[in-house]
Subunit: 198 residues, 2 copies
């Protein structure tokens, strides 16, 4: 509205996830009026990031090198592999600090309606890697959504004949969750997979 | 987490208004994984915007020239001036399509506790402009917040001796508002300033 360059900035900001027209306008005004230095920092950060961050050749997570730090680490267990849908999931699991194995990022989930099959999410390459025999346990950590569950089940079937242990992350009541407000499927799973205390 | 450049991008995105750590991470992943071209477009838009957009010398709204299109327009009424707090308000009023005068952007509101006085929000320059005699009516369109109201009252007092008509935007029940849920001050104002139909 003020100028073509302002409108271009608003349009560019609108392509960010969960940024609508009002938020984009607010961000643009904030950057142009109060945060010019910050805007330049963001512009440079964007430019640098897209030009240096790529997919790890081994696990398909994100890295600035050919192979990511996690894949290269000799302190992490090569025999334990966690299969996730996206690099965001790697991040989430790393933040728990409770996993010391390696990852494999599918980059999505099976979705026949969208034409996304096993080849599109790197399952053949995963199978090839599992056949090498280093991995002893595969933790299927795809999302607990319908598509994530379907992908986990597909992998379970595909790995049946391989000499690897297959596990799936637990489903249950989240920390702080009140039973009254937990959905019945989750509560059913929590009851079914209850842990023995004594 | 993945790489220093990724972290820098997340940090830069976090400085945007209402973007928290999770949103920033989601935006960064989205840009790096799916929208590299879009990221470059955004980087360029940011760079172009901060380097060409500045304050209009006349109204202090935003423009790429010395004086903005609204101030330069000969189709708009020079005798009618709308005083607002920020360029975002100019945008909001322009979107209504119901105002054909000129604007004056204060760039904030009076806030003695934060040390913001009349000089900081360009009131002397506004008074000087009103003294030139072109403006016949000043519409005080500062926010209906405590600070916005105080700023409007200050301007009312300051302009008392000038031969200009002073008006304040109406307060009342918003479109679609249910009386039951409108706060009592607003409803009180709506009753007090009721419009005569017949």
């Amino acid at each position: 509205m003020f100028s073509p360059k302002f409108d271009e900035l608003v349009q560019a900001l609108r392509t960010l996830p969960s940024v609508g027209p009002k938020s984009a306008q607010r961000m643009a005004l904030n950057l142009v009026m109060k945060n010019k230095i910050q805007a330049e920092i963001l512009a440079n950060a964007l430019h640098n990031a897209v030009n240096s961050i790529r997919s790890c050749q081994k696990c398909h997570s994100l890295t600035e090198q050919d192979v990511c730090d996690i894949c290269l680490s000799i302190e992490r267990d090569d025999g334990l592999m966690c299969v996730v849908e996206s690099p965001a999931d790697v991040m989430a699991i790393e933040q728990t600090g409770s996993f010391r194995g390696k990852y494999y990022v599918l980059g999505g989930h099976l979705s026949p309606l969208d034409g996304i099959g096993p080849d599109d999410i790197g399952i053949p390459a995963l199978m090839a890697r599992l056949r090498q025999g280093t991995v002893q346990e595969v933790i299927l950590a795809t999302n607990a959504t319908v598509e994530g569950q379907a992908t986990a089940h597909y992998l379970l079937e595909a790995c049946k004949h391989l000499p690897v242990k297959l596990t799936r992350i637990a489903q249950g009541v989240p920390q702080g969750g009140e039973l009254e407000y937990v959905d019945s499927h989750t509560l059913g799973q929590a009851m079914h997979h209850r842990l023995q205390f004594k």
